[in-house]
């Protein structure tokens, strides 16, 4: 089993921040030998006035080999630019104020036969290409451009392409990294601006290439105009701690509060973050702790106040069966109940197997 450590910070409202320390981390990273070298990934997603701001930091893993990642996006980005210098770190500091953690972070057509390149750019040592195409087309493009896709990639790419046929590939150019003096652990933040009415945060991609038992851990920060409802609905920290030690809770809502003025001021002072309102934003901090085999969903977010995140956006329902614009929507309470029942059911099953009698 390959342990994955993916501290993921996602802020919605300024929708999104994803930090991936090793390029493998934040998307499905693809090493030429198929190994998963994910060290650490952080991402910020923020959503405000119909615009998702997705900030991801890619950490150079060192060496001369090429590595990269594939990240599904909820829409076509209007621009991809270098991210700010401290946005991600400041979010971590706000919610996980341990000095050690902060120090570490600081160092750190869907059916088209062929994928269409809709944006290409370079940011420091990163070569970034945004593609539009179906899962097979994007997989073909990635393979033809030297990406090694793990065996679960075909299904995972289709999983995303059915909802949004937009993918961003990121590859470190080792020679440029050397020219720029990048060392192992140096991060390059990337800020993706995505107009969308349907924000979501990709989570399933974090388990790409990992065995089903591999643990996936991530920190997700959301910054939204209003307190968001998410799907799947997260567990409370109290409930999560009552689960058996070997049972991963999935999603845990560690913090949910009005974003502090000092946080917003610090974020707005960072490069490219001036769009962030100076007040009135809601900060949510969700911790992802799941088996890769169980992480078959994304995080749908409804920040409109309606409290109805889309099952389609979460990857829990097919597109046609439940369109967020019209079709029946499932209340988060139902999904919370289902999640709790499933977890309790698993716990009860384990207890039965251990004792040989029904758990009560």
């Amino acid at each position: 089993m390959r342990p994955l450590r993916l501290p993921l910070a996602i802020v919605l409202g300024l929708f999104a921040l994803l930090i991936a320390a090793p390029a493998w981390a934040c998307g499905g990273l693809v090493n030429t030998n198929g190994s998963v070298t994910l060290v650490r990934t952080t991402t910020l997603a923020a959503y405000h006035r119909g615009i998702e701001h997705y900030v991801t930091s890619f950490e150079f893993a060192g060496g001369t080999g090429e590595f990269g990642s594939i990240i599904p996006l909820p829409g076509v980005p209007t621009k991809v630019i270098r991210g700010g210098d401290w946005t991600l770190q400041r979010l971590v500091q706000e919610t996980q104020p341990q000095p050690e953690a902060f120090a570490l972070a600081a160092t750190a057509g869907a059916a088209e036969d062929r994928a269409q390149v809709i944006l290409k750019t370079e940011i420091d040592a990163l070569d970034i290409v945004v593609l539009e195409g179906g899962g097979t087309a994007v997989g073909d493009w990635a393979r033809e451009h030297g990406f090694f896709l793990p065996p679960d990639a075909p299904e995972v790419l289709d999983f995303y392409a059915e909802r949004s046929p937009i993918f961003m590939t990121v590859r470190f150019d080792a020679s440029r990294a050397a020219e720029q003096g990048l060392g192992a652990g140096d991060g390059t933040p990337v800020h993706v601006v995505i107009p969308t009415t349907n924000p979501w945060v990709p989570l399933r991609i974090l388990g790409l290439g990992a065995g089903p038992e591999a643990p996936v851990e991530a920190d997700v920060y959301l910054l939204t105009d209003l307190e968001p409802a998410t799907l799947p609905a997260p567990l409370t920290p109290g409930l999560a701690t009552r689960l058996p030690q070997d049972l991963h809770p999935g999603l845990v809502l560690e913090r949910s509060e009005a974003a502090s003025p000092s946080l917003l001021t610090d974020l707005r002072d960072d490069k490219g973050m001036e769009w962030l309102p100076s007040s009135g934003m809601w900060l949510s901090y969700l911790r992802v702790d799941a088996r890769a085999g169980d992480l078959d969903y994304d995080l749908a977010i409804d920040a409109s106040g309606a409290g109805q995140p889309s099952p389609v956006a979460a990857g829990l329902a097919p597109e046609a069966a439940s369109d967020p614009a019209g079709a029946p929507s499932y209340g988060p309470a139902i999904w919370t109940a289902i999640a709790v029942l499933v977890l309790l059911g698993v716990a009860a099953g384990r207890e039965r197997r251990r004792t040989g009698r029904p758990a009560v």
Partner: protein
Amino acid sequence: MRPRLFAVALVALAACAPASASTSVRTVAIGIHYSAFSLDAIDVEPGETVRFVVTNTDPIDHEFIIGDQAVQVAHELGTEAFHPPRPGEITIPAGETVSTTFTFGERDLLFGCHLPGHYVFGMRGTVDVV
């Protein structure tokens, strides 16, 4: 023997002969989708020759390797990135169809794909000689 009688005799001989596995080649079609073989078990007769037609609809390459446990282990540990045409050992590039013909003996065998992580992912099956 007149030609007509000779032909009749040949037909009669063919009709009376037991269905020998070694005298005909059966074709077995196998699909690969989402890194999974469409069959996880194949029955063959002792000495039967089978032509496998393997279609890969994934955007990644796969393999189809027939052999005993030792063969599977050797390929799992090996570094051969692409398999030249060899009975029972083929690489199926993304989106393509490749065939291979293999004559079985008396022993059950295994088949699988040994690109990194694929065998563990579940790309394997058995060939049972019955």
